[in-house]
């Protein structure tokens, strides 16, 4: 199939519902499954659909059989499930998989859910991520040298980028400051006090070269989106958000096997999505990219082709991505300042849908018609890129 044929196929599909669970942030009194279920209810309400309409179930957690757990908990018997679990990009990739299943007529309505107690699980007995097989590569060749979670690997990738291209702490801080300005316009964001470049640079080190203000939050949150055919979407409550282009890519699991530390798989998934949508970078009105760290957003802009490799630092300088800047990015306040429960990709989808519908109030990007969404998962391991648009 050429790009035009693929585009025709995917344009038959739209996101019709999107929402968070009732409370996000610090939610110790609710479990993970509750977060999924509330988000599912809210997103279905947003779409004007009932749970009984859902025949495809997509999620990336919890446990060894995520969709079995979620379908049982919700009380549905889906005829199609997809537990693709490739990190925080999973939910963006689920949209592509759901679109394919809908376009081929396998299902009518896909429900994609997410929920994690990234903050509160640290205080709950027996919870957290399962231990790894001792013969797996990470157990043998990384854990004996210490792996301090995501900051370890992302900091090391960032360090190589700084060495190779001269990217500076100040340039990374530009992203933290700009993203905070968006969070100040989002009532649901956790961190809403203004910060300066100097605040970022003087905040404590987590893993050099990252200060704590280069790192995302760790919160409790859930979200869900509902995807269906464009035909069915026309009769629903809200303006359909069409899937115009989509790409997915995977290059490695852990850092030692990463082919090039200074880019991301978005260099593969991005061009696929743009080619399918048949749009240019200049036509994009709003950009929502996973910002697990300031660096993740910076390198993603390069990988997607908004600027050249190594030019991300200059590109984001001068508060270009902030409200009022000419490149609105991460308009909900991002994983850096709004919320980040662990696998944040769901929330860039929700924000892109809201921007394209014109529902964002104070932080609304004027006349947003085309959005580029990019989820990054693992240790810069997997990406899903979507080009979304409205009539």
């Amino acid at each position: 199939m050429d790009d035009q044929e693929k585009a025709g196929f995917f344009r038959q599909v739209a996101i019709v519902g999107a929402d968070e669970c009732d409370e996000i942030g610090i939610v110790p009194h609710k479990g993970i499954l509750q977060l999924h279920a509330e988000a599912a209810r809210n997103a279905l309400d947003d779409a004007g659909l009932a749970l009984s309409d859902v025949d495809g179930m997509f999620t990336a957690g919890p446990g060894w059989s995520p969709t079995l757990q979620m379908a049982e908990y919700l009380g549905i018997k889906p005829k199609y499930t997809d537990s693709t679990s490739v990190g925080g990009s999973s939910f963006v990739i689920h949209v592509e998989h759901a679109a394919a299943a809908i376009a081929t007529g396998l299902i009518d309505v896909a429900l994609i859910t997410h929920g994690e107690s990234g903050h509160s699980n640290r205080f709950r007995p027996g919870s957290g991520r399962p231990s790894m097989d001792p013969w797996f590569p990470m157990s043998q060749f990384e854990l004996p040298y210490h792996v301090g979670g995501a900051p370890t690997h992302y900091a090391m990738a960032c360090m190589r980028h700084m060495h190779q291209y001269g990217t500076t702490h100040e340039q990374l801080a530009e992203i933290a400051v700009a993203t905070r300005k968006w969070a100040m316009l989002n009532p649901k964001a956790m961190m809403r006090d203004p910060i300066t470049i100097e605040d970022v640079l003087s905040s404590r080190w987590i893993t050099y070269p990252f200060h704590i203000l280069d790192c995302c939050l760790v919160t409790d949150a859930g979200g869900a989106v509902v995807v269906t055919s464009a035909k069915r979407a026309k009769d629903l409550k809200k303006k359909p958000v069409y899937v115009l282009g989509s790409g997915e890519a995977t290059t490695h699991q852990s850092l030692p096997s990463m082919p090039d530390l200074t880019t991301t798989p978005a260099a593969l998934s991005g061009p696929r999505a743009f080619a399918m949508a048949g749009v240019s970078h200049k036509e994009i009105d709003v950009v929502e990219v996973y910002d697990s760290f300031t660096y993740t957003a910076l390198v993603t802009l390069e990988a997607l082709g908004f600027c050249k490799p190594g030019e991300g630092g200059a590109f984001v300088s001068g508060q270009r991505t902030a409200p009022g800047g000419d490149f609105p990015m991460n308009t909900n306040g991002g994983g850096l300042s709004y919320t980040h429960p662990g696998m944040y990709g769901m929330f860039i989808l929700i924000e892109a849908v809201r921007q394209l519908r014109g529902e964002c109030g104070e932080r609304q990007v004027k006349n947003a018609r085309l959005a580029c969404v990019n989820g990054t998962g693992g240790t810069l391991s997997s990406t899903g890129t979507l080009i979304l648009g409205v009539d």
Partner: protein
């Protein structure tokens, strides 16, 4: 030494047994693809570049450069509580492969480290069975 060591220890897998046997003798051995004519990391029974199973083990020089590094100011395992700040790195061996390791013999001040700095292997005997390859500036 054995009684005091409280960090995670590797459990050698069948395909990595030769690697850990080499380390025990303070030698760095990696599998080498006879088709691609290059070594690879991490050990497995086939070449991850061409999927050839025609491989042999070869000893590496132990010399390389810091491809990248991170300096850690927090610990996620009690074994490192006394060692903050410590350095994790990807070392690029002169034969090509990159391995995840620690840089030792440095004070953890990032100003004293840089990418592409020359390093050599320094084995740390952590149990009766395991010696960990770490690296120090040359």
């Amino acid at each position: 030494m054995t009684t005091e060591y409280n960090k995670p220890l590797p459990t050698p897998s069948p395909e990595a047994k030769r690697y850990w046997e080499g380390c025990k003798k303070h030698e760095l051995w990696l599998p080498h693809c006879k088709i691609c004519e290059k070594p690879y990391f991490y050990p497995r029974d086939f070449c991850p570049t061409c999927f050839s199973w025609d491989i042999e083990w070869r000893q590496m020089s132990g010399r390389g450069t810091i491809y990248t590094f991170g300096v850690h100011y927090r610990h996620f395992h009690p074994g490192w509580a006394e060692e903050v700040p410590y350095v994790t790195a990807l070392v690029q061996l002169e034969e090509g492969p990159r391995i995840y390791t620690n840089i030792v013999g440095v004070d953890g001040d990032p100003r004293n480290l840089r990418c592409d700095m020359a390093v050599e292997v320094a084995f740390e005997d952590v149990s009766d069975e395991i010696s960990l390859p770490k690296f120090r500036p040359v």
